[in-house]
Subunit: 318 residues, 2 copies
């Protein structure tokens, strides 16, 4: 069996190897991704985003358990160096997460690539595709923060869950300013904490404000209160996700098609951006066009990045 | 006077116009950036990164006041939709920040671009260059979160300040996992809060762990306790920044050169990545190569992103 067949039949070892190759940017991985692509499109992708400390991993962990009860297989991608799924947390959390490691119906992988120039969004999309081709029914993607990468990752999910906790007023502002439109479901985790009512009220106001821009056919994001460590609210969250999925699939709107188009566009744009850059770097190397030399020229003020880039483009894309 | 001369002589209106053009990706902005570049390299760039709610804006606000006392001019770039500098906060904050708006020695601008594909890092570097060319002595860059964009923005600063608050254990884990190496100074803000000693102890342990990898010549990040809203700790932070600058400039190491090379490399790579993508998109448009059509092909499963990208590269970069 070749690697594509192995992955499609759910082989964990082959899948893990491909994901590592993607992370390491091994060129052969792309040929495999291409062959895997026809096997994608069956998984339901759910993104979780929010600041460190709001409890995204615990929510994902609990939801994975919930989906397993329905006998759905689950893929988890943690784009977060702090994720307990990858050992970036205190021991108790790690042990708790490990119950899934014994379950063949759950595949967990983290993406902690740092220091690369871009490529995080691209890798995430590729890895979602791999878990999809591998046959996972549900893919849970955990991302940290409210940065641009996170927004793009969220855009490539079918349902995006924005997670916050009471008492983070600035988070509410972030939601207001930029990421309101990407949240399909809002979770107030650690809802037993002081300030919970206020946070929910603020979110509700934002949703009502947004309602003026939405038309009647649009989805109104629900607010779900949870205490993930106690499993409280998980049924509500599960139901909210199911409702959003039903909404997308409902026949009287074009929502499902819109989501598919949005995902396709992001994957195409990101793959193109990455490949164009890679192609130029490869040509530069072949031509002996040295980056180090150019960096020196900039530092010595003999040239500037704008001029050098024009020269590179003219030469390598001529 | 042309626009380059106007900006170099500190004209606020011309500068604001150029920054807007950069944000809107107006092609003519690049020619101006190129001409401005020889006027850059004088400013000292300080990056502030940390989650929403840790008080970065207040720190930046207070530090700006501190630098003004030395008669240094200040540029502030907030890469953060929640920043009070740009109205994304409660009224009291906004009024407090506005004292700087009356001071011609301070230039404030926010970058809240969302939904673009990449380009945030690139724009930030370009905007730092503009404020540098405009003659600002110190440039304070505020970024939110711990995403990849933030890491790269931090990499393009001379001094990077990582801001946290007591009781965010997951943040400490984030610092441990990925961003320890980019922090030159750690700030525990809201240090009057419960858990402050514990947070400082955890940070100290991380710094000691890191010390084993550092050699004797290396900088040991200090931990500064602040209560920015009360101006407490600002002298310590100011001193820590001055110390780090002196360390970089000290003659017995190559640190300053290293920082300049790192900044030059990031600017070159990001500018190249952006320009290669832009060039391809322009050629596609010229050739009537339709993105929408390709998106449809992906959605209909007639093709896949990997194959389409190969075709585009072959055609447009042939």
């Amino acid at each position: 069996m070749d690697i594509v067949e192995q992955i499609v039949s759910g082989n964990v070892r082959a899948t893990a190897r491909l994901l590592r190759d993607i992370d390491d940017e091994i060129p052969s991985a792309r040929a495999i991704l291409k062959e895997l692509y026809p096997h994608t499109g069956k998984a339901y992708v759910i993104g979780f985003t929010g600041s460190p400390g709001v409890g995204k991993s615990t929510l994902v962990d609990q939801l994975a358990t919930r989906f397993r009860k329905e006998d759905l297989t689950v893929g988890i991608l943690a784009v977060d160096p702090t994720s307990p799924f990858t050992g970036g947390a205190i021991l108790g959390d790690r042990i708790r997460m490990q119950r899934h490691f014994l379950d063949p119906g759950v595949f967990i992988r983290s993406l902690a690539t740092r220091g690369h120039f871009g490529g995080l969004t691209k890798s995430t999309n590729d890895m979602v595709n791999v878990l999809d081709a591998m046959g996972k029914d549900v893919i849970l993607v955990e991302t940290v923060g409210v940065g641009q990468d996170e927004v793009e990752i969220a855009n490539s999910a079918h349902t995006t869950v924005l997670v916050t906790i009471p008492g983070m007023g600035d988070e509410i502002q972030a939601i207001k300013a930029g990421i309101m439109e990407i949240g399909n479901i809002f979770v107030v985790n650690k809802a037993d904490r002081e300030g919970s009512r206020k946070t929910i009220r603020e979110l509700r106001n934002l949703i009502e404000l947004g309602a003026k821009r939405r038309n009647g056919d649009d989805w109104e994001p629900p607010i779900v209160e949870t205490e993930a460590v106690k499993s409280r609210g998980m049924e509500d969250l599960h139901e909210a996700i199911r409702n959003h999925r039903s909404f997308l699939l409902s026949t009287h709107t074009e929502k499902w098609r819109e989501v598919l188009e949005k995902r396709a566009r992001i994957q195409l744009m990101e793959a193109l951006r990455e490949e164009a850059f890679r192609t130029i770097l490869a040509r530069m190397e072949k031509d002996g066009n040295s980056f180090d030399l150019m960096v020196d020229q900039i530092v010595e003020k003999q040239s500037d990045p704008y001029t050098l880039v024009q020269e590179i483009i003219a030469k390598e894309m001529g």
